[in-house]
Amino acid sequence: MQHSRQFLLDSYRSMATIRRFEDRVHDEFSGGKIPGFVHLYAGEEASAVGVCSQLGVRDVIASTHRGHGHCIAKGCDVVSMMKEIYGRRDGLCGGKGGSMHIADIAKGMLGANGIVGGGPPLICGAALTAKYLKTGGVAVAFVGDGGSNQGTTLESYNLAKVWQLPVIFVVEDNGYAESTASAWSVGGSQLGRAAGFGMPGIEVDGFDFFAVYDAAREAIERAREGGGPSLMHVQLSRYYGHFEGDAMTYRAPGEVAKLREEKDSLKIFRKQVTSAGLLDHGEIDAVGDEVAKLIDEAVAAAEAAAMPGEVDLATDVYLRY
């Protein structure tokens, strides 16, 4: 697949934005500036961007509790996201959703989700809308290895197949559902499950942007052409804990350091595009600098933004009452 320079730069920008955003949220959370629960996506960037870089606004995604990366990849405004995570009034959801519920329906982002396995049924509905209104859109449900064991996910495989919906199930297997290894908690295999529901399935190296892109392209094309649902089993890892504050004692000593060294989707991308002569290091560094500035601005804007007040407590609950 030939990619334009602009596409490569945009894709790198999106991955670098996710990394920088998550590293910064980690720091600010540690410093006590961010309330609540946050679950960081750093390490998994190639999956969100490999899929979402080929989606448009007519296409809808549903995310998980580890949702920041999917939001950024789908085009949510980074400053508004940071404000939301800080609980500010002009955050993307008015400070009422927070990290686990960032959504932007207008951008086709149907929400991060605080319920493991909450998204796949919703995405069947988004796909039904696309199919019924003949928009040509597809719908993508991101689930983790933990979410892959929920009944909602398995029911959604069946419903998507029975209704022949334009859905792609992206199982992001980062090795751990909270602290429990996916090697222990998943009976059978992800591809075996796909086959059981009559869906094409594919194993994907989740650290390789181009591998994710190619697998997703095939699944998206199939869905757009009326070929029904597909499943991608994306194997990757997270650099941080299940949530911020997780001491990760369940991981092997040195595991994360080794991952950061050997399995870094940004470094791998850089190597791929520079060795092929598609981009040079200077261009990539320049994108990194732009991203760093954007995240600095986002944090400064979030810190300066106003908190919601009591007047906001009871708004947005019913359209009319």
């Binding site: 809808v60 549903a62 955050g91 993307l92 959801c93 008015g94 400070g95 009422k96 959703g97 519920h101 959504a103 932007d104 329906i105 207008a106 149907l110 929400g111 989700n113 605080g114 319920i115 909450g118 796949p120 049924p121 919703l122 995405i123 069947c124 509905g125 988004a126 039904l128 809308t129 696309a130 019924y132 209104l133 719908a139 009944g151 909602t152 029911e155 959604s156 069946n158 419903l159 029975v162 209704w163 708004t315 947005d316 609950v317 019913y318 359209l319 009319r320 009452y321």
Partner: protein, 338 residues
């Protein structure tokens, strides 16, 4: 105007909205019936026939049969609503919400608030409720108090064919998720129902009887039992107001409080269990807001705090009756001074 059953009134409302708005779709288990089977299509029209005839008129794209996967299709209905359709999904018996409650109360109910007002969820979930069918513990519950408890949901309990049609059209046009409770014993009750479309606003109670001596607030099928009790009491010289709130969320508190201010006596009739029920909720409202008007303690008439029994001998004493309602009114009006 023509005679229609409660079932026909609901079907009539859905069909008229489907003709008006192409974004209205219907989905549920056996909503047409016979999908993929060798015999008839539209074989059932839902397990008690409410949606019969819709698929032949509107096609299989708009009247979708589903696998028996309530989590998946109720969630799909919520997702479709958030992305531009107006689904009317059938959760066959409300008892089955136990397998899909997450999609209702964590997803559909929360979108609007959690997303800062930037989402609408025009979803109707139709569901059957209530005892009287000898259907035992897992097919007979009321459960509307559970849904009423959840902010973001609207909860509708039509007590007549006329209300069923007007409230259903309102529900389909509403941009919030609505849980529409249909009492399974009432499907064959008939009344005059206009042929044309009309809406009944949510949160506006209906006074089915007007009197001075006591106020009865009743829900769903219990409105009819309360009317029977009021008519009996009238023959005995007591005039009673019967209030049908029609929706438990939103609740027309004003009409209830105004009536209690006039009568000073309140009986609440609720087919659900007594704890954390609509009976308890209305009693709380009146105790807090109208205590000074009360001339007697509030009485509630509810089912007992037990699962719904199977045996007809037990189920008949489980369900509140007009006689129990009459006795409660007599208890609150005993020794009345005005």
């Amino acid at each position: 105007m023509s005679k229609k059953s409660y079932r026909e009134a609901i079907r009539d409302a859905i069909a008229s909205e489907m003709r008006r708005d192409p974004r209205v779709i219907v989905m549920g288990e056996d909503n047409a019936g016979g999908a993929g089977a060798p015999g008839e299509t539209d074989a059932w029209g839902g397990v008690l026939g409410v949606t019969k005839g819709l698929q032949p008129e509107f096609g299989a794209d708009r009247v979708l049969d589903t696998p028996i996967s309530e989590s998946a299709f109720i969630g799909a209905a919520a997702g479709a609503a958030a992305t531009g359709l107006r689904p009317v999904a059938e959760l066959m018996f409300v008892d089955f919400m136990g397998v899909c409650f997450d999609q209702i109360f964590n997803q559909a109910a929360k979108f609007r608030y959690m997303f800062g007002g930037r989402a609408v969820t025009p979803l109707v979930i139709r569901t059957m409720y209530g005892a009287g069918f000898r259907a035992a513990s897992q097919h007979s519950q009321c459960l509307y108090p559970l849904f009423t408890h959840i902010p973001g949901l609207k909860v509708v309990l039509p007590s007549s064919p006329y209300d069923a049609k007007g409230l259903m059209i309102q529900a389909i046009r509403d941009d919030d998720p609505v849980i529409f409770f249909e009492h399974k014993v009432m499907y064959d009750e008939t009344a005059e129902v206009p042929d044309e479309s009309y809406t009944i606003p949510f949160g506006e109670a209906n006074l089915t009887r007007e009197g001075r001596d006591a106020t009865i607030v009743a829900f769903g099928r219990m409105v009819n039992f309360a009317n029977q009790a009021a008519d009996e009491l009238k023959r005995e010289g007591l005039s009673v107001t019967v209030i049908d709130p029609r929706t438990t969320s939103p609740l027309d508190a004003e009409t209830i409080l105004d009536s209690v201010a006039e009568t000073g006596r309140l009986v609440v009739v609720d087919e659900s269990h007594p704890r954390c029920s609509m009976a308890a909720d209305i009693a709380r409202l009146v105790a807090e807001e109208a205590f000074d008007h009360l001339k007697a303690p509030i009485r509630t008439v509810t089912a007992p705090h037990t699962p719904v029994p199977f045996s007809p001998a037990l189920e008949d004493i489980y369900i509140p009756t007009p006689k129990k309602i009459r006795d409660a009114v007599l208890a609150v009006t005993r020794g009345r001074s005005s």
